[in-house]
């Protein structure tokens, strides 16, 4: 039996990696906003969902016109990033900034607002899609070469999976550069550390917060498009579970910490996939794949009992 399990392992790890990158990219949006505002922006799940819907729509309209799937994907990614990023900015402007301007100090207030925004966005998308195509479940229409695949050693690899990993890696590296090496990134870190002092240095925190939502939202949008490409079926409520898990990943890695969010996402992706694959075999079929979330979250609970600050929470006073 052990041999059989081991033979599966490379495939499982690869699939876990895919899922992990999706979580990581969503988690970045959570963690960046938390860094500057100490707000858990639950509406971020819906920003991700909007990216996925944009992905489906771009393929619906452009795939019949443009024969090359990669070109369509690039367009979808750009449009997804822009629309999700701008949506996130609008949400911040309309829902969160007025609360700050009123000097609301109770942190529950923006949190409840975020949950409210989340519902509004879900049903807004449902409404739009209902009127537009009269569809609830949206099906991704992939075209070559995205639907191709090959087998490397024993691992079955789809082209779209490779693209997902590549694009996420680029985004993560780019974000790290932006945050650590540019003027905007330095300003974001300054606002995250001490908003009032940053203000006295001539930095307008509202502008920086707005940019943070834009960047986090754009990452969420890219993650959404890639998610739609990878997992094919989308609906307006599809953001909820990945969003919740990405939030979990952000906490697991140490919320407010960018590297932590990436690590947390990858770890959670692995735990979930490993549990999903091996649980039925190891328990003789008593616990099926459907328990994967239970196992993943049990591990999370245990880990947080011993490291409440998250995996990388300690090293980093610096939060973004």
């Amino acid at each position: 039996m052990l041999e059989g399990l081991l033979a599966l392992l490379p495939q499982v790890i690869f699939d876990g990696l895919l899922l992990g990158f999706v979580y990581a990219m969503i988690a970045l949006g959570y963690t960046m906003v938390y860094g500057v505002l100490e707000l858990i922006n639950f509406a971020h799940s819906e920003i991700f969902m909007i990216g996925a819907v944009v992905g489906v729509e771009v393929f619906r309209y452009l795939a019949p016109v443009i024969p090359n799937g990669v070109v369509v994907l690039v367009l979808a990614l750009i449009l997804g990033a822009i629309i999700s990023g701008v949506m996130a900015m609008i949400v911040e402007r309309l829902a969160y900034r007025p609360l700050r301007a009123r000097g609301t100090t109770n942190r529950l207030v923006p949190l409840i607002t975020a949950i409210g925004v989340s519902f509004v966005l879900q049903d807004l998308v449902r409404l739009v899609e209902g009127i537009w195509h009269n569809e609830f479940k949206l099906q991704m229409r992939l075209i070559p070469p995205l639907d191709g695949n090959f087998t490397f050693l024993t691992v079955f690899i789809q082209y779209k999976a490779l693209i997902l990993i590549l694009v996420s890696l680029l985004m993560l590296v780019g974000l790290n550069y932006l945050v650590n090496r540019t003027k905007l990134g330095t300003a974001i870190r300054a606002v995250a550390q001490d908003m009032n002092t940053a203000r006295l240095m001539g930095i307008n925190p509202d502008v920086i917060i707005s940019r943070t939502f834009l960047i986090g939202g754009a990452l969420g949008g890219v993650a959404g498009v890639l998610f739609a490409v990878q997992y094919s079926t989308i609906d307006p409520y599809v953001g909820f579970l990945p969003g919740l898990k990405a939030f979990t990943a952000a906490v697991l890695g140490g919320i407010g910490n960018i590297t932590g969010a990436m690590v947390g996402g990858l770890v959670l992706g692995q735990m979930e996939t490993l549990a999903g694959t091996y649980l039925p075999t190891l328990t003789g079929g008593n616990f099926g794949t459907e328990y994967k979330d239970v196992i993943a979250f049990l591990i999370l609970i245990l880990l947080l009992l011993f490291r409440p600050q998250g995996l990388l929470g300690q090293v980093v006073k610096e939060k973004v």
């Binding site: 780019g174 932006l178 090496r181 540019t182 003027k183 905007l184 330095t186 300003a187 870190r189 300054a190 550390q193 001490d194 009032n196 002092t197 940053a198 203000r199 006295l200 240095m201 001539g202 930095i203 307008n204 925190p205 940019r211 980093v316 006073k317 610096e318």
Partner: protein, 268 residues
């Protein structure tokens, strides 16, 4: 010289601020001339820091106005006030702890670094040039404050006196015309205080800055200030040259209690 001509770097007119029933700053007026080193002193709780906060936009005055080189800055937000050319340091050091010395200064230079976000994403030559220039300027300022060799270290790893100087370097990165120093000598040993005095004089002489400081260290205040204003219970009770303040009966009473006049001078 007409009343509106720019004969004043800072013109504060009848500024008041209350918190609840407490009048923290009460009808204070004063004028700071360009290039002056002006000190605001007063016993603990006299409203000095509140007064500073009114001038830098952290609080909005209930009454009165603040003009900076002729421009009305009353009620402007702190970032706008800073952008007008007012830098400040803090009573309790407020450096960005998780950043390097260089990064702290770069934050100060933020509003002068021009490169759009698109430039930054695409790493255009314009962006790289802007970032390079900002770094160069920051290094110059660190060098000026004697901190160049510390550039790569974490701000909090610096000894106390150097952290104070870093705060000044960061404030200078704004390229201000006026510098507010909130108790810059607090917690310094005599050598560090001497160095600070030299620094303040040098900033005025070499950079032409106007400097307003709140300070407790009387020997420092007396030796570097051109003029001094004294606050007590939120009101201005005296203003004048150091020699005048030293012998002012009301000031001595404020510091040492009634009947203490005559034992003037020294540390309060």
């Amino acid at each position: 010289m007409s009343a509106t001509a720019v004969a004043s770097a800072l013109e504060v007119q009848s500024v008041s601020k209350s918190f609840g029933g407490l009048k923290a700053v009460n009808d204070v007026s004063l004028t700071v001339r360009p290039g002056e080193i002006f000190s605001v002193i007063g016993p603990n709780g006299a409203g000095k820091t509140t007064f500073f906060n009114l001038l830098t936009g952290i609080y909005e005055p209930d009454e009165g106005s603040v003009r900076f080189f002729g421009k009305d800055i009353t009620g402007m937000s702190p970032d706008k006030v800073a952008a007008q050319g007012i830098g400040r340091t803090f009573q309790n050091i407020r450096l960005f702890a998780a950043m390097t010395v260089l990064e702290n200064v770069l934050i100060g230079h933020h509003i002068h670094t021009h490169s759009s976000y698109l430039d930054a994403m695409l790493r255009t030559p314009r962006h790289l040039e802007a970032e390079r220039r900002a770094k160069e300027r920051a290094m110059e300022l660190l060098d000026y404050m004697g901190l160049a060799r510390r550039a790569g270290e974490l701000a909090t790893s610096l000894p106390y006196g150097e952290q104070r100087r870093l705060e000044i370097a960061r404030a200078l990165a704004l390229e201000p015309k006026l510098l507010f120093l909130d108790e810059p000598a607090a917690g310094m040993n005599p050598q560090e205080t001497d160095r600070l005095k030299e620094d303040v004089r040098r900033l005025r002489k070499e950079l032409g800055l106007t400097i307003v400081l709140i300070e407790h260290d009387m020997s420092m205040v007396m030796s570097i200030s051109d003029r001094i204003a004294v606050l007590e219970y939120g009101s201005k009770i005296a203003e004048g040259l150091p020699a005048e303040i030293r012998t002012n009966t009301r000031v001595i009473e404020a510091y040492l209690g009634k009947g203490a006049a005559g034992q003037a001078g020294g540390r309060a």
